[in-house]
Symmetry: C2
Subunit: 289 residues, 2 copies
């Protein structure tokens, strides 16, 4: 039978019939159906198809060791956030996107260490506990933390200005599930706009900004790991994050503290900025797919 607009999808779906991995077969069949529906919906001209091929090629070629433009594309289309939300636990702290800057391994640090290797900003302490839903502390939780500088850049974006590992740390909660580290208050920042994703935002009248945030991945034994952010309350763009990652429950007060005893415990002097961010982990799913 000839390939027509009507028979196209069945023909391509059928071509995957010998796929041994049943999950791969399911994904390819679904991809074919939705992709063809999209094409039939918009009826691209040949020039538009060529432009799409050129765009995707440029996205791939913009990626390198420190830049992941396809993650960025997934982010600005809300796909990363949708996948993250589909995988998030129903209880506990809400998850949000990994983002394109979790590219290097965070250096192992001790509780109380500073992740700010520049030392130019006003000191900020982030502290909290990792808990189960019923409030049981989770000691020995691995906490991978990363954030941008006060100027709104990650270390990998400014190799000439920031030492590698600036703004990053791998911590382990203490016997009571507590963690604390020193840093600076991160800035809101634009996602990289000098590539094809930036040009897409420009062409569609979208701003490239993300509200200020600190990234966390928390992993504890027998619990579902979580990827999330603490968003800085009051940051610009908290209502229009370019990657759709804000959830109200993740907005965190970064407040001015004059508490001398706390300052001493954290190794800073008053006044300092203090953010408290607890993370609640859900138990491991009973069965993995």
């Amino acid at each position: 039978m000839d390939f027509t607009v009507e028979t196209a999808t069945d023909a391509v779906v059928d071509s995957f019939r010998e796929t041994k991995d049943q999950r791969l077969r399911e994904v390819m069949e679904s991809l074919t159906r939705h992709l063809h529906d999209f094409v039939r919906d918009v009826e691209p001209t040949m020039e538009e198809w060529e432009a799409a091929i050129g765009f995707l090629t440029a996205v791939g070629q913009t990626c390198d060791d420190t830049r992941q433009e396809f993650v960025l594309l997934s982010d600005v289309l809300g796909v990363s956030m949708l996948v993250e939300t589909l995988n998030g636990a129903e209880e506990g702290t809400e998850s949000t996107v990994l983002g394109p800057f979790h590219m290097t391994e965070s250096p192992r640090r001790e509780l109380g260490d500073s992740i700010d290797l520049l030392g130019t900003g006003r000191p900020c302490v982030v502290s909290g506990r990792v808990l189960t839903a019923d409030g049981t502390p989770l000691p020995d939780t691995e906490l991978d933390v990363w954030q941008c500088s006060e100027d709104g850049f990650y270390d990998v974006q400014q190799p000439d200005v920031q030492p590698p590992g600036n703004g990053r740390g791998l911590f382990r909660t203490d016997g009571e599930g507590r963690y604390w580290f020193r840093t600076v208050v991160p800035s809101h920042y634009p996602i990289p706009t000098d590539g094809p994703v930036g040009r897409l935002l420009e062409a569609t009248g979208r701003h490239p900004y993300r509200p200020a945030h600190v990234h966390f991945i928390a992993s504890a034994e027998r619990h579902r790991p979580i990827t999330t952010h603490a968003f800085v309350a009051g940051s610009p763009y908290v209502d229009s994050d370019a990657v759709f990652a804000v959830k109200r429950g993740l907005i965190t007060d970064f407040t001015e503290s004059y508490e001398k005893r706390e300052a001493e415990r954290f190794g800073v002097t008053v006044p300092f900025t203090h953010a408290r961010f607890d993370i609640v982990l859900a138990p491991e799913a009973k069965s993995a797919r």
Copy 2:
């Protein structure tokens, strides 16, 4: 409102509301809806999402001056053929995919010239006429022709073996809409399998072969240009083209000819292989989008 599995699509669609170019807005909205439907349908794990990002990145990074892996991906998913079919005229010769090997400009040649610069194969003549649907010849039609060698490789794939422009020619039909050129019978061949698209075919149990064919783009004034193939009748894989491009009306007999007078006219000696392939162009569409 928080980003949820249910509100995700509206939030992303809404982000495109300021797009000045109405067509771009329409495409981005439709893309968002179909892409999100796909994600909700398959519910990818984070590892599967990462694998997809890695795959698309590798596809982009496999592209270079002589290789277009995203076109190849579009081809094996039937998208190229679907777009081509949506854009094809309802009357006249059927169109089919451009394919990934139309990357260099075909050298201008005179009618009767050979596009086979190797001179090792058995001579073949391809001839025909370009006509309107009512049989009126179309003189001065530009015919861009390209094909692989007897060994199944395009010039750009074998820079050490084939001179640039081997298997390619840009012809112009004569006063009666006729064209003819010398070549060799092309071979069936595998699409490139050493990249991510090849790995996808392997993982899904699909063969990478295309049946033997000669590519044509025909462009005449006041008519819709057409991109098509003459498929070699009886070629292996004519029923299972890896890129879904075969239409029965394009299957062409490449027959043994002992006609001395024709041989003389075409500048070959008997016996030679002769393929007759007429191309019927539809009139220009009244209004372009």
